[in-house]
Symmetry: C2
Subunit: 491 residues, 2 copies
């Protein structure tokens, strides 16, 4: 196995190589679309199942809406349409026919042109609110709390596996409410669901905040977000929750009779996370040896590798391994026993290191004789000899410790990469030399935000929800500001 490019050498190359070598995903024969390989998909399934559980726990149900959006529906909410128009895949025909000039080849049948073009959904507000129109007559029909797991397409010119692909998998929640207050509460609740998931399941610390008007979702009145910090000092938006006001209700004429008997437009939210989280996962925890996975997300949390010569030794070791497997299983911990004879232990060690398996147990004849096992942690790359008695308790504790330790490490890194600056000079210096989040005052105008973006490529990632009130002056205009915002270069 060729060595990975190191992060220090070329972070971007390290990422691309790692995603492919660890069998997470690869580029496909379709421009900008990826193949999510079984190992990568198994991790995504764990994310999906946990989020799905949380959505259901908070009263949401899943449903499924069409992939295609007729152009006339797509353009109904103008801001939303304008925001996505430049990246839409468009279906114009519904049939192919034999190419008369090239036997065995096909061409698009010009007689099968659609009367109205269909947009492949870049997001589903339009098709969903067109449906909700039929479901909402009275306040008794509200709230509607629906989530959808689906694929979406946003045409991207420069793509990167997981981080930016033309097609990606995601979930999109779409809720309808009788009051503004209830919709805002839903928006905030789902942000907290995302933050809790990111921190306690993915071990990724996040900043909860709101976007500036120019960074809002197209069609939203307010966009809440969670922002994570990658190891190269760039930020990554890990999830968004939008308060959509009555914009879509007005565009699709969704009115209901309220408790007072008056007609009113419904209030909306939408919220989403995607396979982009896979990129965040890789870039938060992994190292130059390969993937590092939190135990919650590892398809194989524990692997047992026998070190042996000959069948007799293997048989003896296997007895002990089976016993460990059974004890771990009884605790609900999945472990894999890799007794393949065509690969040497050293090869297996490197393989499981690359794949980010959190805990590796090596069992050799000496271990058996001493009633011990060698336990290696992927996150710290440390080894220990541990007694076989109660090894299942030891591993259970160790997995929890690894989960916590990954979060702590990422949080320490993130915290050390939030730098307060008060001048534009300092801002540029920190951005160039250190990266990370820069906490600074901003005058609240789109002009200053745009100028900073143009000149430094840093954007306002969010106005943190917990930002303290503080008197200050903005970086360029020098106008007074009441709180700091977080700038960063971002994925």
């Amino acid at each position: 196995m060729a060595k990975l490019t190191s992060r220090a050498e070329n972070y971007s190359k390290w990422y691309n190589e790692l995603v492919v070598k660890a069998d997470l995903a690869e580029n496909s024969g379709v421009r900008g679309s990826m193949v999510i390989k079984p190992y990568g998909y198994a991790i995504w399934e764990k994310m999906r199942d946990e989020m799905d559980r949380k959505f259901k726990e908070t009263g949401h149900q899943n449903a499924y809406f069409p992939l295609f959006v007729p152009k006339s529906l797509f353009e109904a909410e103008e801001k939303n349409a304008e925001g996505f128009a430049k990246e839409c895949a468009v279906v114009t025909h519904y049939r192919l026919k034999n190419d008369p000039d090239n036997p065995g080849k096909l061409i698009v049948d010009p007689n099968a042109r659609l009367e109205e073009e269909l947009i492949v959904r870049p997001t589903s507000e339009a098709i969903i609110w067109n449906t909700y129109k039929g479901w909402i007559q009275s306040y008794r029909d509200l709230p509607i709390l629906i989530n959808q797991w689906a694929n979406v397409v946003r045409w991207e010119m420069r793509t990167r596996l997981f981080l930016r692909t033309a097609e990606f998998l995601w979930q999109e929640g779409h809720t309808a409410h009788a009051t503004r207050e209830e919709a805002v509460a839903e928006t905030e609740q789902m942000l907290e669901v995302y933050a809790d998931f990111a921190e306690n399941f993915m071990a990724i610390p996040v900043v909860r905040g709101v976007k500036t008007p120019s960074e809002r979702f197209a069609g939203a009145d307010e966009t809440y977000c969670i922002e994570a910090m990658m190891q190269d000092g760039k930020a990554l938006q890990a999830g968004t929750s939008h308060f959509l006001g009555q914009n879509f209700a007005k565009a699709f004429d969704v009115k209901f009779t309220n408790r007072e008997g008056k007609l009113e437009y419904a209030w909306a939210t939408s919220w989403g996370t995607s396979t982009r989280l896979m990129g965040a996962l890789v870039m938060t925890h992994s190292d130059d040896h390969g993937l590092v996975l939190p135990p919650t997300l590892a398809p194989i949390p524990v692997v047992i590798v026998p070190i042996f010569k000959g069948d007799e030794q293997l048989a003896e070791i296997s007895k002990v391994a089976d016993d460990i497997l059974a004890k771990l299983k009884a605790k609900g911990i999945y472990a894999k026993y890799d007794d393949r004879t065509e690969y040497k232990p050293g090869w297996k060690f490197a393989e499981y290191e690359l794949k980010g398996v959190p805990v590796r147990i090596a069992l050799g004849p000496k271990d058996i004789a001493n009633n011990t096992a060698e336990i290696a942690r992927r996150d710290t790359l440390t080894k220990e000899s541990v007694s076989l008695d109660g090894i299942e308790d030891y591993i259970e504790t160790l997995l929890a410790e690894i989960q916590q330790s990954l979060f702590d490490r990422a949080k320490a890194f993130r915290d050390s990469h939030i730098t307060k600056v008060d001048t534009y000079e300092e801002f540029k210096k920190v951005l160039e030399e250190k990266g990370g989040f820069i906490s600074a005052h901003w005058d609240g105008t789109a002009e200053e935000e745009e100028q900073i973006k143009e000149e430094t490529k840093a954007t306002i990632r969010c106005i943190p929800l917990d930002a303290a009130e503080e008197e200050g002056h903005s970086l360029i205009s020098g106008r007074p500001s009441k709180r700091r915002v977080l700038f960063a270069k971002a994925y």
Copy 2:
């Protein structure tokens, strides 16, 4: 609630009404595409989870491949391409722009035409085998056992909710093997997985068989299928498993070094089931009162409805209901307690009947006084008074009994709708007057098959795997035949 059209009156109308009224699905603003509503989707999730479990149990892993297939890849396997060319949605452009003549409207940007058109996958053999080419070099890389849960699009002119929609959800397994024998064994194994799922989870009896050459999947050497019988005497194909030979390996040049060191093309299978199964579910078990669901698939297996006047009675009943809920929960049985005060018990009874809830428990003051509950079965519409002592055991047994009884009822119906005929006259008479499967001799030619289809609209559903050898003469040509095949009109 308006009454459902009865099956006797208009079976097709009954089906359409039921799907909409029971909140399973509805037509959308997109021609031929449906919205799967939360209640319908919850049933689909149960099907999906159970199938997914079975796939994993038999060694398969999930992955995800692109939605779009470039035309040049799509046409590589000629038979497959030809089979699907007439129903392909085609993406030709990747951008919209403002319509200069209509402010606020969008048009397709003619400058954003794709160099190569993209086909929205009608099935994924092409894109997957183009990917497998990079994964398969040696027999050590085989077998590849992958499944994908995805949406696919097949343009249909006449659509019906679940049964035939332009977009549908499905799973498609795609495996690659080193030998023909192994691929055939996989094809047969997956047919058995489907049959087991249909019979023991969906309570739908199926005939296992193989398709005639003219009914095979485009690109397959052999198509295995499971066929179910609906209450109107029409057959429904509930799942297919294809042995693809080396057709796709040849089209995509997927060769591997075998154990003997020689280059060989890989052997392939693919197998799929879809949201069509929802249609089969509805049409197998439901009645003129609404949906009938097997307990395994019911989002609400048990509902408890209190019959009360005033808060005091409700409080008393609720105590008993909570106790029942807890006891059922301890057995892993989900029950819903519907204590809403804005709806009357009669309304609730009708609602849960329509939605197919298998067991309804009614609790009134008299029941409480007698230490009993009234238990109603949805499948038989019968009621019984049952002691509250041990009611959880009673319900557990009852649910299993309902599951079995639904299967038995469907099987009795199906078995009574397999008619042996030996003349074409009789064939036409039975088809017209009784419907169902007709078991008859066939001469093995596409000509006779085609003539029967033209003249009667019946197709050969399958050659049953368990068909006994029997000397006979075919219906039209009178040529000798060695076994009977099953004909039917079909969905």
